[in-house]
Each structure stands twice: as structure tokens, then as C-alpha cells.
């Protein structure tokens, strides 16, 4: 990326076509290397995108994507007119924001803790153990969660030491968000911390020595050396995370929720699943999915802009 911008500055006067030509001549092995990636995106990400058209149509399989009649924003209006629309949007935001507020700092804290460990053997064993849940299938994880929080399960019993309600935790609307967020942290914390651990290892050790000579204690060193050292990584990860604000992991929700707790657990994508796959209302569910993606796209742009304004780090 750096190289490209330097080159662009040098051949400023030439047209883009000529610049590209000369650059290809100079760096052709690099262009060959990137070709498969470009092809991948074109074939698997951009080509199928024309299918999003059916969000503005009344899709009929016999007429195909292009032949189906146009209906404009009809499908979107249907979604807004749904009596549960406000609730679905609220749940999506609640679950998503709680996951960010609690789930985002967790791997950073874990990485900082690992960083302070002095015994290499213990450190690597602990790290490996923390990755493991990531590799368990989501279906199995949800099975575990259900067993633990239903009546007689271990977490249920711990919770009932404080409260005295008799129903399983997944039958209480107020418990769903904590269950969702905490189990998510449990499963992903180790895996997500890898990138921060990598960033930590890149911090110059001399900075720590200098800080120590200046009389900084452990805590001060974390605040003034470690955190600024990994700040760019944190910001980039944060922007990327904001981009999936509305894409709450719906597979997990579908595996965990039940009608009793719809009021706190039904999100855009789980609703979409019920409509799209159970009723074959393809155009409608495409519209809902498209709306979801559009908001996500908007979020990532806004966050990137904010980040570029207030710090020097941004995605582009």
C-alpha cells in the first residue's frame, strides 16, 4: 500500500491507464499473485450480488431474477409495517451493543494478562486452552449452554443461590442477553486475543526499559507503553466490529431462543430466517437482508470517518 502511494506521487502527471501499465510492467509478479484473490471476489462476492435485485421485485422462480416484476420499495415497506419491527430492531441493537461493550475489551484484557505472564511453558499451555472453545461447533456449544442453564444445570444452580425463581434461565427474558454475551466471550476470547498478542510482541522492549528507568511501575507501563503500542490494532478491530453491528450471530440465536423470550431475543436475521426459509418469501427476506447490510455498510463508513478525525488510524 505504501509503495503504491509513493509510486502514484512520482508519476502524478501520467494518466491512470499509463501509470497502471508501467506499474504492471515493473511489478508483474505481484499482480499475478493478486489475480486469484481478485477473481475470488469477482466470482464469489460480486457476481452473486445481482441476486439482491429480487429485494425490489416479486420473485417468481419460473420467471427468474430478471424476469420477475418490479415492485419498488414494497418489500421494505412490509418490513417497516410489521408490528414487531420496533422490537426486532431494538433487540438487534441491544444484543449487538452489549456484545461490543463487554465482548470487545475482553480479548484485549486477556492478551494483556498473557503478556504479563513470565513462565513461557505455562503461558503457551494457558493460551492453547483458551483457544479451544473456538473450535467447538456452535451447535454443541448451544447444547452445552442449554444444559447448563436449564433446571438442574450447574449455572442454573449457581444463579438460584442468589435468586429463587424456579424456571430455567432460558425461560426468563431478562437472562437472554447475558447468556448470549457471556457464552460468546467464553467461546471467542482466546481466539480473538491472538491478534492482540501478536501486536504486543511487536512493541519495542527498549520502551519498557526506558519506562522502568523513569520509575514507571507495572500498571503505569501498561497504561503508557503497552496500550498505546497496540492502539492502532484496537481501533482497526473496533471499526471492523462496528461494520457487523446488525449482523448478530443469528445461528446462535435460533439455536437458543424460544417463543417465551422472543421479546428480548428475536433479531432481524432470526426473523428473516423464519420468514424466508419457512415461508419461501424470498423477495421479502432479501429486502430485510439487504437493509441489514446497508445499515452495516453505513456504520463502517461513519466509524471510519470518526476514527480518521479523532485519531490517525483508519481503514482507508
Amino acid at each position: 500500500m505504501l509503495k503504491l502511494s509513493n509510486g502514484a506521487a512520482a508519476d502524478d502527471k501520467l494518466s491512470f491507464k499509463n501509470r497502471l501499465k508501467s506499474d504492471i510492467r515493473r511489478n508483474y509478479p505481484l499482480y499475478i499473485l493478486i489475480l486469484p484473490v481478485l477473481a475470488y471476489y469477482l466470482i464469489f462476492c460480486y457476481k452473486p450480488m445481482y441476486g439482491a435485485l429480487i429485494a425490489f421485485k416479486e420473485y417468481r422462480p419460473d420467471l427468474g431474477v430478471f424476469g420477475s416484476p418490479w415492485v419498488g420499495f414494497y418489500q421494505f415497506k412490509r418490513f417497516f409495517a410489521n408490528p414487531d419491527f420496533v422490537r426486532i430492531l431494538r433487540n438487534t441493537l441491544t444484543i449487538s451493543i452489549s456484545s461490543i461493550v463487554f465482548g470487545f475489551p475482553a480479548p484485549i484484557i486477556l492478551a494483556l494478562l498473557f503478556n504479563e505472564l513470565k513462565m513461557p511453558k505455562f503461558k503457551s499451555v494457558a493460551q492453547t486452552i483458551s483457544y479451544l472453545p473456538h473450535f467447538i461447533s456452535l451447535v454443541v456449544v448451544c447444547g452445552l449452554v442449554k444444559t447448563f442453564v436449564s433446571q438442574g444445570g450447574i449455572i442454573y444452580q449457581l444463579v438460584t443461590l442468589i435468586g429463587d425463581k424456579k424456571v430455567g434461565l432460558l425461560s426468563r427474558p431478562e437472562c437472554f442477553v447475558p447468556i448470549y454475551v457471556l457464552s460468546d466471550i467464553w467461546q471467542q476470547i482466546g481466539w480473538s486475543s491472538i491478534i492482540y498478542i501478536a501486536a504486543l510482541s511487536a512493541i519495542d522492549q527498549e520502551l519498557y526499559e526506558a519506562a522502568r528507568i523513569d520509575g514507571a511501575n507495572k500498571w503505569k507501563r501498561v497504561i503508557h507503553v503497552t496500550l498505546p503500542g497496540i492502539a492502532p490494532t484496537i481501533i482497526i478491530m473496533f471499526i471492523l466490529r462496528m461494520g457487523s453491528l446488525l449482523s448478530v450471530g443469528y445461528e446462535k440465536i435460533i439455536l437458543l431462543y424460544n417463543p417465551l423470550i422472543y421479546e428480548t431475543s428475536d433479531v432481524i436475521l432470526s426473523y428473516n430466517y423464519r420468514v424466508g426459509l419457512e415461508q419461501q418469501d424470498w423477495s421479502y427476506s432479501s429486502a430485510v437482508g439487504l437493509l441489514n447490510s446497508a445499515i452495516n455498510f453505513l456504520m463502517i463508513i461513519v466509524m471510519n470517518k470518526l476514527s480518521a478525525t479523532f485519531s490517525d488510524t483508519s481503514l482507508w
Binding site: 410489521n82 414487531d84 424456571v167 425461560s171 424460544n258 417463543p259 417465551l260 423464519r274
Partner: protein, 518 residues
């Protein structure tokens, strides 16, 4: 070192080249095999039971005999397990269809069978000419004939038909028979007797959740709610289509369930439990009553239980007053939504129709239900009796798996299922008694048939359907658990009305009327 490395690289490349050439050779042969006029392609999901022994239906003795009888070659194509819906959607959207597609067309194709027919995805049948066996069957059973055609009177395919009342009911309430005996109780018939029984289970048998049943099964079987003269969904009452939860009687059901719940008789987690939990509850004595089916319920649970004297009984669907006949219960339509259809890309319609029609004739029915005479069944006193290869398979296959090799009776297909299959499949006396009990309802008069909604009707209720279902499921659970007080029932009805329940009933009423006048 370097030359050694180069040699290694050369050796590897050589091996790879040879492997590629070999692969090409195989591929070439595959392509060379041309599709002759006597071959048809047949897309169908391979049943889980058949999957135990074969990877393609064509390898089973059943399919071989079928091809031999008809003198044709059938190339079966199967979607990967669990991906049938995705595959089906892709196929109809992308075109290039196999000659025959067997699937739940009416549910899976947007707009249902009528739409698939009018848009030309599947070919219309001239019943007399194309399918003489099915035409004869339809003539002999006018009730079924009505289910075989669209509102316009067009015949569209070869559905799986359950050929006897006996095959239409296979699930219902199940209780611990040995507990009843210990406690000196009769099998419960009324709701009050149920209450008494559940209390006894709780107090004297220490059952933690005497009644362990999921909300989904309560709805699907119309269990308990039927005692109040309604179903938990759409049903027909003297020619009028009604949505059960919108009726006043629904409150009676909710009140009763709420009472059971607050007494600790109904499983506290009924809204979230799944089949596996119910199974372990009923096997381990946590529960004494539940709902389930004949084969995967009673049969498997009795086999899995380790407790001495463990026994189950399928009891009658409960009613309010002793001596009444239950109005509602589990009931599947004789003509299911699974159907083999001849697609628009089929070039040889007569041949496909001949193949599919076979399962509706006398000879074909024997093959589809019982397999090969002398091998998988013998006729004893005029009754086709499964041979030992099915009932006590020498290779240790379960009866269902063995059946899947010689017949399609256990799963679904384009044929008429025979009562005599079920009589032999349900082997335990408990299962036979359960079926008799469960069948004793008038559900036949109340069941909503498979109707064709017009495009306008479909559109006008598309959003309402999901919204009503979500709201009803949520409120049902809340009322039963006491999260919402029952005096809010009128508000519940008002909200249902706001969500368009009247329009919902109206559309189905119109479609039902068209159905009845076919």
C-alpha cells in the same frame, strides 16, 4: 542437496501428472455413457434409513426390481443430507431439471403446486391417458380424488398417499402404564382425570415434572386444547375455517395449562425443552406423561428404559366430559405434500408417467409396500407377511433400515401406502393399543386440507401469517407460565385481530370453499 531436491520435485510432478491423466480417463468414460431413450433421471432425498446401507437408491433390491419390472433405467439423484431444500430451490431457480422431482412441492414451491403447474415448471397430467392406475384409484376414492387436483381440476403429479385411516394417526398422549397400575388409576380420559393422575405422579412417584411436553408438540397434536373444542391452529368447524387461538374457548385451555404449570405438574421449561430432553425425562422417571409417536416414541422409549417393569401406554385424547368423543387429535392428510412430479425438462413424459403410475397399481403397491415376494415377504393365508430378512435381519439391521432396502413403506414415495405395513411395523401390543386409542377422534372433520391460495390471497396475508404465529407462540407461553395474567386474554384477542387474523381466516375460507367445490 540442490540436485536431490530437484529430483524430488520432478518425481512428485510426474506422479501428479499420471494421477491427473488417470482421472481424465475415468471422467471420459462417464461422459461417453449416453442417456438412452429408456433412461430417466429421478431426483429424490435418500431416506436416513436407506442411507445406512446404500449411497444411491438405485443400489437397493427395491429399485433393481422396479427397473426390472418396468424394463427401464432410473438414474437416481440425491441431494446431500440436510441440503434438500437448498438444492431444490437452486434447481427450480436455475432451470435444467431432472425428469422427475420428488419433494414436498406444495410447501417448497412459492405459490404451491398450482403455481408450479401454471408457470410450467411441472407438466400437467392427463390422468386417464398417462396414469391409468392412479385414475382407477381416484375413481374408487372420490375424497382422495379431490386432493389430487387443483381448483381448476388439473392433475399435477404423483403424491404419496396413505391408503387407510389406520395410517393417518401415529401420535398422541403417552403415559407411564406401570405407574398407573401401581397407583390403581385407570387410563385418564378427561382433563380432570389428567389432573388427578399428574398430581399422583408428582406426590407418590416423585416425578419432578409429571407432564413433560414441548410447546411445539402441544400445538402439532392439538393436545389438551382439543378438549375445549378448538385446535391450536387453523381448523374447520362445520365448513367454517377458524383460527383456534382467536376463539373464546382458547382461554379455557390456557387457564387449565396455567393451573398445571403453577402446581408444578407441567414441565417448567416446556417452552424451551427439545425432543432429547423429553426423551430422557420420560425414560428416567422425571416425567410420567408426554406426547409422542408410535415408533420413535413408545417403541424406542420402552426399548431404551432400564427400569424394571417400565411400561408405556398411549391414551385417548383427553376431553372435558366423561364419555365424550375427542374432537381433535393428531391426523395427517391421506394425500401428503410429498409428490413426484414430471418436470418441464422431461422429454419422455409417457415413460415417466408409466414409472410413477406403477406404485398405484396392484402389482406396484406390493413392491412399494412389501418388496419382493419370496425374499422380503411371503403371502401367508392371503396376508403379505414380512420375512425374517425384514423383521430379524441377519446383518443386524433394524426393521426400519431393512424395510428401506426392499420397500419405501417406511418413508415416502409415489405410491399408496398399505395398512398391512403398519400392522406389522408396530409390533408391540402397547403400540397397537396406542394407535387404536389415538385414532378415536373426529379430527377428520376438522382438519384443514391442503388448499391452493390464489396469488392475491397469498400476498394479502404473507406478513400477517408470520406475525400472528410469532405473537401467538409467545403469548401462549406467557399465559401458561403466568408471566401475563389471564385477564389480559381479551387484549390478546384484540391484538390478534389487529395483526389480521380475520383476513387470515377469510383467505383460507375462500380457498377451502374452492377446495370443497372441486
Amino acid at each position: 542437496m540442490n540436485t536431490k531436491f530437484k529430483k524430488l520435485v520432478r518425481a512428485i510432478s510426474l506422479v501428479l501428472c499420471v494421477a491427473m491423466l488417470a482421472a481424465c480417463g475415468n471422467g471420459g468414460k462417464e461422459v461417453a455413457k449416453e442417456k438412452d431413450a429408456n433412461t430417466v433421471t429421478y431426483w429424490v432425498s435418500l431416506s436416513g434409513n436407506a442411507m445406512q446401507t446404500v449411497t444411491n437408491l438405485g443400489e437397493t433390491p427395491f429399485a433393481k426390481k422396479l427397473m426390472e419390472d418396468l424394463g427401464v433405467t432410473i438414474e437416481y439423484q440425491h441431494p446431500a443430507q440436510g441440503q434438500a431444500a437448498e438444492k431444490f430451490n437452486l434447481m427450480v431457480a436455475m432451470g435444467n431439471l431432472p425428469d422427475i422431482i420428488e419433494y414436498a412441492w406444495n410447501n417448497a414451491y412459492p405459490g404451491g403446486v398450482a403455481k408450479a403447474l401454471s408457470s410450467g415448471i411441472i407438466q400437467k397430467l392427463d390422468l386417464e391417458k398417462d396414469a391409468p392406475n392412479m385414475a382407477a384409484y381416484a375413481k374408487a376414492n372420490p375424497e382422495i380424488d379431490r386432493m389430487l387436483k387443483t381448483d381448476d381440476g388439473d392433475y399435477f403429479g404423483f403424491p404419496f398417499i396413505r391408503g387407510d385411516e389406520y395410517l393417518l394417526t401415529s401420535a398422541g398422549p403417552i403415559v407411564r402404564a406401570d405407574w398407573l397400575k401401581d397407583l390403581g388409576l385407570e387410563e385418564p380420559e378427561t382433563i380432570d382425570e389428567w389432573t388427578e393422575m399428574l398430581r399422583a405422579f408428582k406426590e407418590k412417584k416423585n416425578a419432578k415434572s409429571p407432564l413433560s411436553v414441548s410447546a411445539a408438540n402441544i400445538e402439532a397434536f392439538g393436545l389438551f386444547v382439543g378438549a375445549y373444542g378448538i385446535a391450536d391452529n387453523l381448523y374447520v368447524d362445520n365448513g367454517v375455517v377458524k383460527y383456534g387461538p382467536a376463539q373464546d374457548a382458547y382461554k379455557g385451555f390456557l387457564t387449565q395449562m396455567n393451573q398445571w404449570y403453577s402446581e408444578g405438574l407441567l414441565d417448567a421449561d416446556f417452552a424451551s425443552i427439545d425432543g432429547a430432553t423429553v426423551r430422557s425425562n420420560i425414560i428416567n422417571g422425571v416425567a410420567g406423561a408426554t406426547a409422542g409417536s408410535c415408533g420413535s416414541g413408545i417403541g424406542r422409549w420402552i426399548a431404551a428404559a432400564t427400569e424394571e417393569g417400565y411400561d408405556l401406554a398411549g391414551t385417548k385424547y383427553p376431553v372435558l366430559n366423561k364419555g365424550d368423543k375427542a374432537q381433535f387429535g393428531h391426523y395427517s392428510l391421506p394425500v401428503t405434500t410429498t409428490m413426484a412430479a414430471i418436470t418441464r425438462d422431461c422429454k419422455n413424459k409417457e415413460l415417466c408417467a408409466k414409472i410413477l403410475d406403477y406404485g398405484y397399481g396392484e402389482k406396484g403397491q406390493m413392491l412399494f409396500n412389501f418388496g419382493i415376494e419370496g425374499e422380503s415377504y411371503n403371502v401367508v393365508d392371503g396376508y403379505p407377511t414380512y420375512a425374517e430378512i425384514i423383521t430379524k435381519n441377519p446383518d443386524g439391521l433394524s426393521m426400519a433400515d431393512a424395510l428401506a432396502r426392499y420397500t419405501v413403506a417406511y418413508s415416502e414415495g409415489a405410491f399408496v401406502q398399505d395398512k398391512r405395513y403398519m400392522e406389522q411395523y408396530a409390533q408391540l401390543p402397547q403400540q397397537k393399543a396406542a394407535l387404536t386409542n389415538w385414532m378415536d377422534t373426529d379430527m377428520k372433520d376438522h382438519v384443514m386440507p391442503t388448499v391452493n391460495l390464489s396469488e392475491e390471497e397469498r400476498e394479502s396475508i404473507a406478513t400477517a401469517m408470520e406475525s400472528i404465529k410469532t405473537y401467538k407462540n409467545e403469548m401462549e407461553a406467557k399465559f401458561i407460565m403466568g408471566v401475563e395474567p389471564l385477564d389480559k386474554f381479551e387484549e390478546f384477542q384484540a391484538e390478534l385481530a389487529k395483526r389480521g387474523v380475520e383476513q387470515y381466516e377469510k383467505c383460507y375460507q375462500a380457498a377451502y370453499d374452492r377446495y370443497m367445490s372441486r
